[in-house]
Amino acid sequence: MKQKRKSISYSKWGYIFILPFFVCFFIFSFIPLVDTVRYSFFEYYRSGLKDIGPNFVGLENYGSLIKSDMIKYAGNTLVLWIIGFIPQIVIALLLAAWFVDARLKIHGVQFFKVVIYLPNLIMASAFAMLFFTMFSTNGPINSILISRGLIDSQIDFMGSVFGTRSLVGLMNFLMWFGNTTIMLMAAIMGISPDIFEASEIDGCSSVRRFFYITLPLIRPILAYTLITSIIGGLQMFDVPQILTNGQGNPDRTSMTLIMFLNSHLKSNNYGMAGALSVYLFLVSGFLCFLVYRMTNNEDMDSSKAAAKKAKGRRK
């Protein structure tokens, strides 16, 4: 009897401990979400100083968004994300494998880690501003290239689609590859050294070891990296916004979805902003579900196993 009462009182503490999170989530995320969804069905915008609406219009906002450039902006977002992500994950895997490989005897691992992680901490907007000034037609990059005789005339980096997108991709790559490297390194170091030793005794080459031992064993962390990167990609805003001053130039080819949302929010077009948010919500919900299934099977299993172990010990 006593035992039972005790366990009830402990479960009460579980609720108390998770309460702040859920209250905060409810107020600052759930209510706004409901509000956002609600207004997506209304015609509600500001014209001059006058508020138009809210008038219920059903799915009209959704339809006009599809007819607008939203699909194009979604494509831009995807392209910009891929340009940054592919080199990031490849380089990060390579570096992580090198750093933990004792036979390579990499000198100054700590120094390299500190340096490659540095850009991750730099404010994206300041970084974009820096790139904007450096790659402008009379900025230092053009000046260096000309004085070295590498080019004859100034290159207008931000005047071309390829140039602008490459700059955004380069910035995203520089900002994130160090972070990913450290994450993956931690994952590889979590693998039992016995496995590596055994593979070495069996005469496994470093390439085979990488593909058949390291990669499969760090899959959970790779998935986590993918999660964070997808979040980041979908939310991409600061870098292209500052680089192109919110215009997404040239010809709106570097306009991302969130930049589009931002322009609706800035002009107080609540109906359209709401509908766009709902689209984004559905997309991220779908991605969420995929990634959740990918990662969570193992996660819940391991937590269950841990719980079982703990229970066993308790008995």
């Binding site: 600052f28 390299f112 969130i258 969420c288």
Partner: protein
């Protein structure tokens, strides 16, 4: 013996790649530093590899500029990021502990729910958020930039993983047997054990908040409450070509130096912390 030569070649190659990547990372900051020390007239002449002697003057120009109150912005950013980092890590650890150490009916549902919103961008609720804080009278204040960080699913997930790997439940049992109350157990036993994870996540949250531009740009209107990213964006939107270029470089420099200083002091903890936690064996 057999595999020695290929390893040597691979090692040289690895060092080469690392040096190139490090150069790429540092090169832009080198240019930034050099250009921040030169005057506008000097900068017009083209790039020089050596610093000028205009550093102090540029700094004074930035500090005395009323249009872009950069130093005020840094103070605002420090307040927002510091508070966010503190409450975010504390409450995330608390939530993770609540779900990790206690068995209750809604435990699994709560965990699944948080995992399900892990990937949800805050931007999708930005519109409702903006309307809500306007109704609550928190528009154009720093509070709405701080309080929502209590509910940070990603930080929670990190803390939870860390607990799975390095917090044996027997420890909690031991504390209970010794008569510690639940909150005391958390504050005096769990928090110290979680220190590496908290340090890492505090830095991530601090940096994330420091760099956050989307929400602050929507919430903050008055100049004396602006955080650094908004000021940088204003700078980009201003009539840029008429500006003193030395001052612009100095502003960018002022915006990123605090973070670099923090990093220099804490890099050891970040990198060691990531290596310690986050990974379950």
């Amino acid at each position: 013996m057999k595999g020695k030569t290929p390893n040597r070649i691979r090692s040289i190659f690895a060092h080469l790649v690392l040096i190139i990547l490090s150069f790429m990372c540092l090169f832009f900051f080198y240019i930034l530093f050099i250009n921040a020390t030169r005057s506008h007239a000097d900068l017009q002449k083209g790039f020089s590899a050596l610093p000028g002697n205009y550093f102090f003057q540029n700094f004074m120009n930035v500090a005395n500029d009323g249009t872009f109150p950069m130093l005020r912005g840094i103070v605002n950013s420090l307040v927002v990021s510091g508070c966010s980092a503190a409450i975010c890590t504390y409450f995330s650890a608390l939530t993770a502990y609540g779900l990790y150490a206690y068995d209750f009916k809604l435990r699994k549902i709560a965990f699944t729910f948080i995992m399900a919103i892990l990937v949800m961008p805050t931007q999708v609720t930005a519109m409702g958020f903006l309307r809500l804080i306007t109704k609550m009278g928190m528009y154009d204040s720093l509070l709405p930039l701080i309080i929502p960080s209590i509910a940070s699913p990603a930080v929670f997930y990190f803390m939870y993983s860390y607990m799975q790997s390095s917090l044996p439940l027997s420890l909690v049992e031991a504390a209970r047997i010794d008569g510690a109350k639940e909150f005391r157990t958390f504050n005096q036993i769990i928090i110290p054990i979680m220190k590496p994870a908290i340090a890492v996540q505090a830095i991530f949250t601090f940096v994330g908040s420091w760099n956050n531009y989307f929400v602050p740009a929507l919430v903050i209107q008055s100049k004396d409450k602006m955080t650094v990213p908004i000021l940088i964006a204003m700078l980009r939107g201003a009539d840029y070509m008429n500006f003193d270029m030395g001052k612009i470089y100095m502003m960018i420099m002022v915006a990123i130096v605090p973070i670099i200083l923090v990093y220099l002091f804490l890099s050891k903890y970040i990198i060691a912390g990531v290596t310690l936690g986050g990974v379950k064996g």
